[in-house]
Amino acid sequence: MRLNLSLPRQRLFALPLLATFFFLLSIQVYPLLACFWMAFWRKGQFVGLGNFHFLLQRSEFWESLQTTLIFGSLHVILTFTLGFLVALLLNHRRRSTSFYLVILFIPWILSQAVVGTIWRWLFVSDYGLFQEWFAPFLHRTLLADKVGALAIVSLASIWHSLALATILLLAALQTIPPELYENARLDGAKGSQIVWQITLPLLRPHLSVVLLLLSLRNMNAPGLILAITDGGPARATNTLSFYLYQLVWRFGDFDLGATLALLILLLNALLLAGFLQLEREKV
């Protein structure tokens, strides 16, 4: 038995789509527009670019930007390099690849709060396992040291994201025809030559996606920092995303928070534009 519907089917189908569109509008577009609106107001007064001017004059903003760049660079370079090496290894070990991937994926399925807590405990001054190991050489509490704290947060971040980099790069590696490697070997190419002359050039279309995902993920997530160092010591791990969290959720400053959110959005957009430009150059 078929239902006798008076409206044409396509139109009936379009209506739920419209509902979905409005739903997305309300949870994605509206907050973005509200953010734009709030960034130009201060305590109910229209201030034009005043909030941007104010924020860009704050040393806290520039310190956070600097920390973001250092933290981001460490994260992206090391995660990518390690991810690439692990992907190369797994690409050759086809029999046990699934097992290693499962092991590698454990950190990825954990929330940033859990990962942060694990790494914080590893470096707790009195009973942290890693702190105990490093203490005889470094003679300092790493979590209380500006460089040490940033290093811990970076390590935790790399550990957490390694699975993402590995799985994406492994998928990309598996698109390279094995005959190319065989031919290269027959021509007498060595391992490093194969990587530089064949693997990396053929991976190029995928590299920017991996790098972009790693960069954006790192720039926009304050969870690890919140759980490990709370932005300290002395702002040493206070990245832009953590500064945004502080402004909005700790200081209740929505106007400046919205302004900073837009600046972070701009940085994300610049990053994306940079990667797209790289892609175009390749083509």
């Binding site: 078929r2 239902l3 519907l5 089917r9 396509q10 009936l12 189908f13 739920p16 509902a19 104010f54 704050r58 040393s59 806290e60 914080r120 707790v124 001054s125 009195d126 300092r140 509490t141 979590l143 209380a144 040291d145 500006k146 490990i228 160092t229 709370d230 300290g232 010591p233 002395a234 702002r235 206070n238 502080q246 959720w249 700790r250 200081f251 209740g252 400053d253 929505f254 400046l256």
Partner: protein
């Protein structure tokens, strides 16, 4: 073609009915009809930092019992939503500002009163408090903490916290040094014995309320003027920073004090640090304790009392600048009714119950503060040497926080700046303090 085929498959009536059913359910769930209107029998929703559902310490256990007793005696059911102690004030301000899910009543910190007032987040309780039977029994310091500059009362004080030093008696046979000069001498000797002289919280927001507040104010520094403007860039504050730098550079305190959280407390608990800059409430959390002689006290929150009784542990007022008096910050955990509270009448019933002498005294004792009712000070629980010392210290050296309109921002900025100065001795104190001060004042 394939897409068109898929489209027509999706447009089958059974699929459309399913989609519309899901949409209908979603709209019903989102609609106001789905939310039950607050009935007279709705539980009173409160925010506190106490964990009554999964008690972690003596304070939580007392609170869970008190809520059960309240329901049993008065029939008032309370739903306590546990909040992070360091974020409860900012979260309440945010909830009021955004008209979000509000409690009917909330725990708050009186030192943040000016921030609440600046955001207009609290109901005026002047009429209620002034007419309450316990009004005339209130400790003046407690009432002052809940009173705005215009004379209106915005909160109901719960108990009074103050700051003090706990120290191991065997490490200081002559008693704890009274000022910073004597302290440095004693600390050098302790260093020779392989001990840290002191441990205190040096990082995060609450650091600026504890040892650092006492030190800066004893040196003559101030956090803000009467108008709430930061006044950090002064020679007095720089002197206090210089003292803190000496402590770290000379290895008289461990760098652990700048770790996040409460890691530094372990040094004192294990007898590796001679003194601990804590608060009147610290005994709730300070266990187990092992004295430098190796004697262990592991009786939950009674460990400090046991160590005091055994003569292993002693108390002192906060460190003072040479020739100056010590300073201890008085903070008064209080109750406030947020603007927009749905059940203010029930909130007042709760307050009426907890402000009775018996309940108020039990609350203060469980929380590690002195009672806000003067009549409760004679209670037998507050006659021990510990509480006698706390009271004397509070009466002689107690000081309220200066008015800061953006409390968390000010405390964060100040703590971060001091932390940076101590960790990096090459920075010029006055220049950095001036930068932080200007940054804070510009955001007024």
């Amino acid at each position: 073609m394939a897409q068109v085929s898929k489209m027509s498959q999706l447009c089958q009536p059974k699929h459309l009915v399913l989609v519309w059913t899901v949409i209908g359910i979603l709209f019903t769930a989102c609609g106001k009809q789905g939310l039950p209107a607050p009935a007279a029998s709705s539980p009173l929703v409160i925010w506190t930092s106490f964990n009554d559902k999964n008690p972690q310490n003596a304070q939580d256990r007392w609170f869970a019992q008190a809520l059960a007793k309240l329901e049993q005696e008065k029939g008032l059911k309370v739903e306590n939503e546990t909040q992070n102690y360091a974020q409860i004030n900012s979260k309440l301000n945010l909830a009021v500002a955004t008209k979000g899910d509000l409690p009917d009543l909330s725990y708050l910190n009186s030192q943040q009163l000016n921030t609440y007032l600046a955001k207009g987040a609290l109901e005026d309780l002047t009429a209620y408090v002034s007419a309450a039977p316990w009004f005339k029994d209130l400790e003046p310091a407690a009432l002052a903490a809940c009173t705005a500059p215009d004379g209106k009362i915005y909160c109901v004080p719960g108990h009074i916290y103050s700051r003090l030093i706990y120290y191991w008696a065997s490490d200081c046979p002559q008693g704890f040094p009274a000022d910073t000069v004597a302290f440095l001498k004693a600390a050098e000797q302790l260093k020779q014995q392989g001990k840290y002289a002191l441990t205190f919280k040096g990082s995060e927001v609450s650091a600026a309320e504890g040892f650092i507040f006492s030190l800066l104010h004893s040196f003559g520094g101030k956090y803000a003027d009467a108008e709430g403007k930061a006044t950090w860039a002064t020679p007095e504050v720089a002197q206090a920073v210089a003292f803190l730098r000496t402590l770290l550079q000379e290895g008289l305190v461990s760098d652990v004090v700048f770790s996040p959280g409460f890691d530094h407390e372990r040094l004192f608990q294990d007898g590796k640090a001679t003194a601990f800059g804590g608060g009147s409430w610290s005994y709730i959390y300070l266990y187990p304790l092992t004295s430098p002689q190796g004697k262990t006290f592991a009786q939950d929150s009674a460990s400090v009392a046991a160590a005091l009784e055994a003569g292993e542990l002693k108390l002192a007022s906060p460190l003072a600048a040479p020739g100056e008096k010590p300073v201890t910050l008085l903070t008064i955990p209080s109750w406030g009714i947020p603007k927009g509270s749905k059940q203010p009448a029930l909130a007042k019933q709760f307050l009426a119950y907890f402000m009775q002498r018996e309940q108020s005294t039990a609350y203060a004792f469980a929380s590690g503060g002195l009672p806000v009712l003067t009549s409760a000070l004679t209670d037998v629980r507050f006659q021990t040497p510990y509480w006698q010392f706390v009271r004397e210290n509070q009466t002689k050296y107690g000081q309220q926080m200066e008015p800061l309109h953006h409390y968390d921002r000010a405390m964060t900025l100040l703590t971060e700046t001091i932390g940076r100065l101590v960790l990096d001795p090459n920075l010029d104190s006055l220049t950095e303090l001036q930068k932080a001060q200007e940054s804070y004042n510009a955001q007024q």
